[in-house]
Assembly symmetry: C2
């Protein structure tokens, strides 16, 4: 169960006129609370900033957002040292029809829920995946952003429900692998690390960004990947990233299987030392 | 103001756990009530059917939907002989995370609001438009459907807010004109009528379908259009369609202007005789 707040006041419902409900007109962030504090907070704020700019909304004041989050965590029965907070920013109820003016004061909700740590074996042995049938549309006006328009992820992830798979990889219309349904993907090819560009579709995860920044500090570059599903068998190692679980190696994708390689283990070690202890092997 | 009902019971709010709110995981229809009855009801039901199939939801029972609509219209203070009913079908609150099973019993809301007829001059003289900067992503898994993921339309239509324009035309990434922000578009080129295919992006409007079916009865074919914005100046006539207003000629798009042509007038006459009297000149 998620414990919901409007700003820092308990509230379980929203108006049906809310544009988040009508059009998905808004943004969200799913933040890992660790040691009672929001992890990668500055990256979440930065993505929210960029989302607000793209959607024509004033960015909620950073300090106000931090204070509200503190109050919410202090009040919520679902809060703990290690939990999940979802922030939803909606353009509100003031404008009927698709069009609206710049939103100077968006509506903000906080949802607190329990975090369930993954079994250590997922980190050690990797997880199983498949290629999803659902493709991501290319040339999205909101590519890279975490908007409330998430039907592609809903459809792709729903493909996995009947199967015992941890994640699915999604491709664009041309067959290039872009990301997971709830994660970003990194490839290791001949010891070089790459990840798909997200300027046409997909979501730019905060953990993806943290991994790239952490590797940069170790002078390890990450290049743009253009890996089609047919190429996947010749990729040496694959790992996925997500704000909650950090990094997980891929053990399989359909018929293809991998063992957890040295580069992935090295990346997990680096990132575990940089605020993501889940990844420690 | 919209007067909201959950099924046929007054209700102004929805749970924050509602997947329509979280992910835009649902569909909607905006129905013109004329003479107290829903216009083009069978086309609305058909699009809803196709949407439910695509999203993995059981289609609400047609007869039950009609009965609920009747009860809503009988109860609502916003209802009149000529009004608007919005039906929202959401996948509900039962599943957390993107993935979910097939939804056997989706949640349904009805919103009733007043209809404001357009001035007769809009039909007679045409309306002014522009080409929107916001492009539609191609290869959408929900192309043609009226899902609750409508950020492209929100962004495109918001471009018009500061200007005195009736509508904006949206293009795909390659510059092909696909539809209006709240309408479909038809072109007349050398007396032949065409309209963009909607298999990659855009929404297939019920009035678009009604126009095509009505013209078919008159042995007038409508072909697929591939009109780029650069070609627009050489198009003889342009008109747009929408469930509420029926058909409107375009008077201008940016620098290009048209007078209302004989073919458009003929189409408006045919369709006005087929249940859409708004179009009578």
């Amino acid at each position: 169960m998620t414990d919901w707040f409007r700003d820092d006041v308990h509230s379980a419902v929203a108006s049906l006129d809310e544009r988040a409900f009508q059009y998905g007109d808004g943004l969200f962030e799913t933040i890992a609370i660790r040691g009672g504090k929001p992890r990668l907070w500055h990256y979440h704020l930065d993505r929210l900033d960029r989302g607000c700019e793209c959607l024509g909304m004033a960015m909620p004041d950073h300090e106000q957002l931090r204070l509200s989050l503190q109050k919410v965590l202090a009040q919520s029965s679902a809060a703990s040292d290690s939990c999940i907070v979802k922030i939803i920013v909606s353009s509100g109820t003031g404008h009927r029809g698709y069009g609206r003016k710049h939103i100077s004061d968006p509506s903000i909700w906080f949802g607190v829920s329990h975090a369930t740590p993954l079994p250590k074996s997922n980190y050690r042995d990797g997880v199983d995946t498949q290629i999803c049938k659902t493709r991501l549309a290319t040339g999205s006006a909101t590519a890279g952003l975490k908007t409330l328009n998430r039907l592609e992820q809903v459809l792709a992830r729903s493909e996995l429900i009947e199967q015992n798979l941890f994640e699915g990889l999604t491709m664009d219309a041309s067959g290039i692998i872009i990301c997971g349904t709830m994660s970003n993907v990194f490839f290791v090819i001949k010891n070089r690390i790459s990840t798909p560009a997200l300027d046409q579709c997909g979501v730019e995860g905060v953990m993806r960004r943290h991994v790239i920044a952490t590797l940069e500090k170790h002078d390890i570059g990450v290049s743009d990947a253009t890996v089609e599903w047919q190429d996947l068998a010749s990729v040496d190692e694959v790992f996925i990233t997500n704000s909650q679980f950090g990094i997980l190696p891929l053990r399989s994708c359909g018929e293809i299987s991998w063992s957890v390689g040295a580069t992935t283990r090295n990346v997990m070690e680096c990132v575990s030392a940089c605020g993501v202890p889940e990844c420690r092997l």
